[in-house]
């Protein structure tokens, strides 16, 4: 697996959340309405959403080792799986690979939520209502699925702004092979402080394009240790059923979504 990748190094994250804001700035995404904090510590909003493509989660501190209190603060965005469930299940072929990145084409998306259901990382989200862009004319259309596109959209960047803005080097962008090499050296370097440190994303779903250096075992952070893409045959069966029903939906997205739901319950 060659090409570019992101590397998240949780041992260097200070939780400044420049990534979360920078993404909104470059992509003209609005802020979300929140109250207090939606997750542990300073986490806000609770998770990624259709208008939040980068998210920082603060885990509760771990005081088991009296010599070294661990506070994990973790950046999360789309993992851009090599074998991506979302891509496999999208009935309209709206999700594709562009230079290795998993990208949703909203002009094809019907908002059926297949990608939302099948992503174990809970990355893509369907927008419920038309939402004005910030600082730019126009709307983000409802009933479409959205997530990180690694800035290879029309507003393409050499280095996505989330990675460029990271002040500590906790989020970097570059050649995947080189990043892996660097990450493996880093895991060794921090092993005295974090004996269970590991690099996540080498194997899962055929390999991820957002790699993460974790301070502890993946399960502690809600990440599946083993990630296997869904059975292609099952996905194809759902899609076949959907295409059959879709003939009677008159091209209406709302009916298409119903058609997908029926197909899924029949074939799933």
């Amino acid at each position: 697996m060659s090409g570019k990748a992101f590397l998240v190094d949780t041992t260097k994250c200070s939780g400044c959340r420049a990534c979360q804001v920078s993404c909104k700035q470059w992509n003209n995404l609005p802020g979300e309405k929140t109250t207090f904090f939606a997750g542990p510590e300073y986490t806000n909003p609770a998770e990624l959403s259709a208008i939040t493509f980068n998210h920082v989660k603060f885990f509760p501190i771990d005081r088991t080792n009296p010599e070294k209190t661990i506070w994990t603060i973790m950046h999360k965005k789309c993992y851009h799986c090599e074998e991506a469930n979302c891509l496999r299940v999208c009935p309209e072929g709206a999700i594709s690979k562009v230079e290795g990145w998993v990208v949703i084409d909203q002009s094809k998306c019907i908002g059926c939520g297949a990608c939302v259901n099948e992503c174990v990382y809970k990355v893509p989200h369907v927008l419920n209502e038309n939402t004005p862009l910030y600082g730019k004319e126009g709307f983000i259309k409802k009933d479409k699925s959205y997530k990180c596109h690694a800035c290879i959209s029309e507003n393409r960047r050499a280095v996505p702004l989330c990675a460029q803005h990271c002040p500590t080097g906790a989020l970097t962008f570059g050649d995947r092979t080189a990043l892996i090499k660097r990450a493996q050296a880093r895991v060794k370097q921090v092993s005295a402080d974090f004996p269970h440190a590991n690099l996540y994303g080498l194997e899962q779903y055929g390999g991820l394009r957002t790699l993460t250096i974790l301070k502890d075992e993946p399960e502690k952070y809600g990440l599946p240790r083993v990630g296997k893409a869904i059975d292609l045959r099952r996905a194809e069966a759902i899609k076949d059923a959907y295409h059959l029903f879709a003939m009677f939906t008159f091209g209406l997205p709302s009916l298409k979504r119903v058609a997908y739901k029926i197909s899924r319950s029949l074939m799933g």
């Binding site: 400044c16 109250t35 806000n44």
Partner: protein, 996 residues
Amino acid sequence: MPVSRRDFLKLSGMTAAGSFVGGASFLTGCKSASKLRGTKESTTICPYCGVGCGLIVSSRDGKVINTEGDPDHPINHGALCAKGSALFQVAVNERRLKKVQYRKPFGTEWEEISWEEAYKRIARRVKDARDATFQEKDGDVTVNRTPGIASIGGAALDNEECYVLSKFMRTLGVTYLEHQARICHSATVAGLAASFGRGAMTNHWIDIKNADVIFMIGSNAAENHPASYRWILKAIEDRGAKLVVIDPRFTKSASMAHVYAPLRPGTDLAFLGGIINYALEKNLIQKEYVLEYTNAAYLVNPDFKFNDGLFSGYDGGKRNYGDRKSWTYQMDAKKMPKRDKSLKDPHCVYQLMKTHYSRYTPEMVEKVTGCPRDKFLKVAEIFCSTHKPNKVATIMYAMGITQHTVGTQNVRALAILQLLMGNMGLAGGGINALRGESNVQGSTDHALLFHIMPGYLPAPSSKDHSTLAAYNNTTPKTEDPMSVNWWSNRPKYLVSMLKAWYGDAATKKNDFCYDWLPKFSKPSPYIVLFEDMLKGVMKGAFFMGTNPIVGGPNANRNAQAIEKLDWLVAVDLWETDSSIFWNRPGANPATIKTEVFLLPAASSVEKEGSVSNSGRWAQWRYKAVEAPGPEKTRGKSDLDILNTLFLMLRDMYKKEGGKFPDPILKANWNYVPEGEHEASPHLVAKEINGYTWPDKGQMKTFMDLKDDGSTACGNWIYCGSYPGSSKNLMARRGLDDASNNIGMYPEWAWCWPLNRRIIYNRAAVNRKGEPWDVDRWVVKWTGSKWKGDIVDGGPKAGPQAKNPFIMNNEGVGRLFSPGKALADGPFTEHYEPMESPVANLFNSQKVNPAAKIIDEVRGQFAQIGQYPCVATSYRVVEHWQAGAMTRNLPWLNELVPDMFCEISPSLAAARGIKNGDRVAINNARGTIRAYALVTERMQPLMINGKPVEMIGMIWHFGHGCAATGDACNQLTPSIGDANTMIPEFKAFLADIRKEA
């Protein structure tokens, strides 16, 4: 020949260029981004904290399209924090003011008026207030001051604006002149100046990478200066540096530390005294450095005594050290301080210190601070490992050190430690006072404070400086041939400043108009200023980008004080909590008389000028676009507003006469270039730099300033920043490092003094001129000249000829701070905060015996046991200071939308509070509401055998702006440090309960 982006900027960096019209992304490097197509790009500096990160602003058709980190900037290399990343929402925001807002007396809403009308009315109010309250004499002394007007704020203004504000107010006679620096780092200036002679951060951000140990106390840099962690992590990764974080809470900064040590708020002196004792006991000091470069060997007056928390000369009735005659050196026949280089004389500073600090045992540290003994010892061991000549620790600190009744002494303790370790002047060393506002260094340099004038010249007081001769009599003197005693040049700097202010009117015959400067009779720091406002002393006030009813101590009281004003002029980007004080919860606008003018200001990307970061780098910002709104009504730069107001006042005095019109009529005031309509920051910057008089040749160095009226210089420490008529060194973008290759980047921007990147760098070498560490040398002596950084104290004198601390009249660093440098003692001593849960175990004084207690608020201070929890305040990365610059930004409000406090699970359990509950926090000054964040990062501390719980609060919130919440500062006490009256925001008492 193709020129790379970087080369192009280097070539153009000397001029005012910095704005590029061209295809997308000359600077950003995003060639194919459609959003940047056809944009104009310009560089700027982040308007939030004092790190001074660079940004690129892209605009099209007069609208900002994108803001992002400047990849070439040597400090941030293109990175930013959440606030910097959100700068776009300052420029593009529907809450921005597009017209002047006016609130008539007893009015219930804003009305819109034109700029012309606003200027006219404000000038009238100012003139009337000045003429009605002007005082020419106090007894026999000419004071020429205007007590009827106050000016507050300025840390977010550009240098040129701060300078003009300082000059404008003082020309009017204003002595109630204060701003954010008083309440954030005034203790730094006092503590560092009393130790080394200057009050600024000694090194700079990039230099942190050169440290072996990073000692962070009273700072949460990960939260408040995020870009600094880039350099901390580099030191850890590249050099194996150790990071030690000492803080009451387990913070983001602590999460990356090798050792985290907790302590109770307000006990820093016990902790630091413990380390001083550890170093002296175990003889872990840099002996050669201590002998040569500090006053360890100096003999102190045998009358100097210390007993039960009191130094000799204390006046219990007046609560001050009126008699500090014993806080002096023994002098020999040649008027030189006596020394004992064997360090055995019982009166030498070293022996006095050993005795004084012997009480600060690890046991006492644990009992008082609550820091477990083994943690304390681990910290002491790591820090003292840098006593070796080639090992260096940097100290990073901020408000956790300064905002105490012992704030100045906290800073002193850090200074003592760094002198003992021999860490001052070295790369990777120094004392790094982390500044929290983009230009609070500059606003302090330009003296928006009652007690100083630009360049740290003392402001004239009626008591000490009745005439120019009296003023100059206080010039520091020395007989020591080894001492440079740089302050002996002070008369030249003062006369040059007077010449810059009063031009042709200032002549030798009239003492260069010295008497035109207002003289204060009573110190009026921030707290006193507001107490006087509450008494109705002032008729009107200016708030220049400041929000005192959120940011000041005892905030309810500040709001009541503002109600006593006849008029208020607030200049800001939008409505702030303070400018709509008349509409705050609980207030009845119909009973509030204050007339309010809210003038729309241009933001940092809508004007041009320089800002000085924490490391003293003055960096130039460019104007990308105009302020939003129609041309006739939109916001203006503070500089242009002040200039227009001044010229209008001058017209009025010309036509109508009035009290002592001379300074207003005759001031040297020419800031609008011929044929233009707006005041130019370049003209101001050139005056600040200084020029020959009358032919206006730009000065190159302050060494050429004269006291005969032949030179004019607005601020001597900035002399050299603009040394040619089109040579603005603050705009430089050169990226070549100096020959020592330690990351000083001397061709990037300009740094005071004289582009010296590390101050006290003469102490970076031994007496032979050899660097203490050859691998990261700062300067070295070749036998005939200095190499590396611009050496402190002039290039001619070699290392054996002069002592390194050139701003102290003895030329060495002060372990013992003699004379009148400090109000509360030559050594540090632990006292409890004004409000403390326990008695003082070190002595029978409760609070700092020299801290001034204001009678009017005496009854508000809680006694032991009255409120059970220690409360403290702090900030989060997503918001900035009093919140006006962040609580209107939706991206930041998404992250931290509400006022919250942090408590431990044990306190939460005791009060039946769950995470996310609404709670009320109260004490004698008020009750506030907040959400409770219950976290294990907060833990009770065992203080002398008993657990003490803490309540931590953010202080960004208030009831103006888009995101609202109660202001923490409604609970903080009106008590300040003994030297500067910096308020004790960081340790007070309160209780907490679940809201019904």
